[in-house]
C-alpha cells in the first residue's frame, strides 16, 4: 500500500497549500498545551478551520501536542485535550506519557507518538501499541535496515521522516538550548544551539574554532522505493515554520515521486525540484547507515536556486491575464517558473506588470500587493511563480 505523505503547516494558508500540493495529511501545532502563543501555532478556532480545510480536500489533519510538561503546565490539561479533540483533528502527536494517558482516557482521537520520544526498537514500539498508541514516529537515528527489522516485528503504524532539518541529538533528550540560551527545547524554545560554532579543545589546547554539531538536512527521495516496500505507513516532511513555497515545492516533488510508476527516470528531476527550496546542504541521514551521516562544517548558506515571487490568485482565460499576489520583488523581463499542484507547468517571461489601479509599473516591489501579468500558460489559483537561477 502506498504510504501517506505527511506535510507540515504553520498557518491556514500553509494547510491549504500542503493539501493542494499533494499531502495526504497535514500536521500543525496546537497552542493550548503551551504557555505562550507564537505565530506558527493556532488557536482553537483556527485549528477548527484547519481541520475543515484539510477534510474539505479529503485529507487528514494531525495536531502536535508534544510538549514535555512541567508541574506548572498541568492545570487545565484535561479541558484542553477535550477542546482540541472537539476540533475534529484526526490525531494528536504526543510525547509526554501523561498527555497520552489523558488523551486516551478523555477523547476518541488517535494518538501518534512523537519522534521526541526517540523510539528506536520494536519492543518499545509494541509497548506503545499495547498502551493504545495508533502510530509511532520513529527516531531519526534509525538505518533503513533497522526500520525494516522493526516493521517485521510489529503491526503498529510507522511514520518516518523523509525530508527537512534534523535534530543532531536524539530528539527530546537534548538540553543544549536550555543551558546555552535558557530556553527549554521540550517546551518549544529550542535555540538551535547545535548549529552554533564551538571551539574544540584537546586538553588545554584549542585546536579549532569551527566545530559544529549540526547535521545536514534530510533528503530521502532515493529511499522512497525501499520505504514503501518495507511497509512504512507515513512519510513525514519536517518544517512547520517553513514558507508556503518550501511546503509546496517539497510536498509536490515527493507526491510526484510517490505517484510515478517509473521512479528511476523521475529521480534526477526530483532532486532538482527539491533543490529549489533548500538553503542548507542535504544528506540521507541515518537511512544510509551509521557511516554515512553527513555533518555541516561551515555556516555558509547555499545560494537559493529559486525565489518565490508571486502567488496566483485568479486567471482569466479570455484575457490570458493572471492576478498575482507579490511575495518577492520581480519586474518585466524576468523569467519565472510556474509551480503548480500538478508539477512544474513551464516558464514565462514577465512581459509587463499592471498594478491594482490599472497602471503599468516597472516592478512589483511591495509585499502582498496584487498585480496583473499576462501569461499564455493557463494558470490557476495557488500556482506559484518563482524566478529560477538556472532557468
Amino acid at each position: 500500500m502506498k504510504p501517506e505523505l505527511l506535510a507540515p503547516a504553520g498557518d491556514l494558508e500553509k494547510v491549504r497549500i500542503a493539501c493542494l500540493y499533494g499531502a495526504d495529511a497535514v500536521y500543525i501545532g496546537g497552542n493550548t498545551l503551551s504557555l505562550r502563543a507564537r505565530s506558527d501555532v493556532m488557536e482553537y478556532a483556527q485549528i477548527h478551520e484547519a481541520v475543515r480545510i484539510a477534510h474539505g480536500y479529503g485529507k487528514k489533519l494531525y495536531l502536535a501536542v508534544n510538549i514535555i510538561m512541567h508541574e506548572a503546565d498541568l492545570d487545565g490539561l484535561d479541558e484542553q485535550l477535550v477542546a482540541l479533540a472537539a476540533t475534529g483533528a484526526d490525531a494528536f502527536i504526543c510525547s509526554d506519557p501523561y498527555i497520552i494517558e489523558r488523551a486516551l482516557a478523555l477523547t476518541q482521537t488517535d494518538i501518534h507518538l512523537s519522534t521526541q520520544m526517540s523510539v528506536t526498537n520494536s519492543i518499545a514500539v509494541n509497548e506503545w501499541q499495547k498502551r493504545g498508541v495508533k502510530r509511532v514516529v520513529l527516531a531519526r537515528e534509525l538505518t533503513i535496515s533497522e526500520i525494516k527489522a522493526i516493521r517485521q516485528a510489529t503491526t503498529m503504524e510507522l511514520e518516518v521522516f523523509i525530508h527537512g532539518a534534523m535534530c543532531s541529538g536524539y530528539s527530546g533528550r537534548c538540553t543544549l538550548s536550555n543551558w546555552m540560551a535558557d530556553r527549554d527545547a521540550n517546551r518549544g524554545g529550542c535555540a538551535h544551539s547545535c548549529r552554533w560554532a564551538y571551539d574544540l579543545y584537546q586538553g588545554q589546547t584549542k585546536i579549532s574554532d569551527a566545530f559544529y554539531l549540526g547535521a545536514t538536512d534530510l533528503e530521502a527521495s532515493d529511499y522512497m522505493d525501499e520505504l514503501e516496500k518495507i511497509g512504512v505507513n507515513s512519510l513525514k516532511i519536517e518544517g512547520r515554520m517553513k514558507s508556503v513555497h518550501y511546503i509546496a515545492s517539497i510536498t509536490s516533488a515527493y507526491r510526484q515521486l510517490l505517484d510515478d510508476q517509473d521512479r528511476v527516470h523521475l529521480q534526477p528531476m526530483v532532486h532538482q525540484w527539491l533543490s529549489r527550496a533548500k538553503n542548507r546542504p542535504t544528506g540521507v541521514g541515518f537511512l544510509g547507515g551509521r557511516d554515512h551521516v553527513e555533518q555541516i562544517y561551515a555556516h555558509t548558506p547555499l545560494g537559493k536556486t529559486a525565489v518565490f515571487v508571486g502567488l496566483v490568485i485568479d486567471y482569466d482565460p479570455l484575457t490570458r491575464h493572471a492576478l498575482v499576489e507579490q511575495r518577492n520583488h520581480f519586474r518585466p523581463g524576468d523569467i519565472v517558473e510556474i509551480l503548480s499542484p500538478k508539477g512544474i507547468k513551464g516558464s514565462i517571461i514577465i512581459e509587463n506588470i499592471i498594478n491594482s489601479e490599472g497602471m503599468p509599473i516597472d516592478a512589483a516591489r511591495h509585499p502582498q500587493e496584487t498585480v496583473s501579468i499576462p501569461s499564455n500558460i493557463v494558470l490557476e489559483p495557488y500556482d506559484m511563480l518563482r524566478s529560477v537561477r538556472d532557468a
Partner: protein, 282 residues
Amino acid sequence: MRIVAKMHHLTELETFMEMNLDVFLLETPYAKAAKHPFSMDDIKGLTASVHRQGKQVYLLMDRMIHEGDLSGITGYLSEVSSFVDGIVLADITVAIILQKLGAPRVGIYQPGPLNTHHHIASFVQDLGMRGWVLAPELTLSEIESITSMDSGVEIGFQGFGHIEMFHTRRHLLTSFFTHEAQSIDPQATYFLKEASRQEYYPIIECEEGTTIYRPIMSSRAYLDRLRACIDDVYLMRLNIDDDAYFQQVKAYLTGDFSLIHEEGYSTGYLEKMIDMDPEVGS
C-alpha cells in the same frame, strides 16, 4: 537520602566501604560513554561484597537501545537483574524487557530531561520500575512540588558533577577529524567552548555515539532541602580527579564540606528558571 557514587575500579571498593557509601554505581557495556565497564564476574563479586555491608549496587545501562541490541541486552538483563539492586536506564525498552523477564523491581528511569512532573511516577510504576531520576533541568521549587506528591516510587536527582546535556548517535569527533584529515586521539580529553561563554563542555565519543556535558555542578548548598524529598542523590564522576571525587563523595555522605573547594561550580538549574515557548519537532 542515599548517596550514589560511581566506582571505576575494583580497587576502589575498600575506599568507598570505609566512607560508608550507600549505593555503588557500576558501568556496564550498555552504559552511555562507558569508560570503565565492569565484567559480569566483577559485578557479581562486587555485589556480594557490597551486600554483606548492607549497601546497594546499581548498574548503569543508559544507552538508547536499537534493534540490534535487543538479543544481547535481554540475555544480560536476565543474568544481572536477579542480584543487583537497581538498573539505571534511559530507554524504557530496558524496563519492558525486565518486566517480560519477571525480574524484581530494579529499573530506575533516567531519560535526561523527560522526567519533569509528578505523573511520570505512575508511568514508572506501571512499567515495573523501582524509581525515577528527575530531569536535571528542574528548579528546586519544581523538585519540591513534584516530590510533595506521594508517588509510591523512589526519586533520584543528579546532584553533583558534569551532567549530560546532549547525546547523539553520530560520531562527531571522528567526523570532524576525518573532515580535517586528522585522527582522533583516543587517549585525549576533549572539550567544547562557545566563544561568548567562559565554560568548557566535556565531549566524549564512544562506539554508540557522542555525548556532551554541562560544566560541573554542585548541590551542596541545597542538601538539607534535597534530603527532605529525594531518595537518591547521584554524584557523577566524569573528568574529575580520583582523589577530588573521593573527597566529594565523603563530603556528601557526612555533610562536612570544609575541605571541599568548589570555586567555579554552578548550581545547575536549582535556582534557574528557563523559558517556555512552544515550537517543537513532532
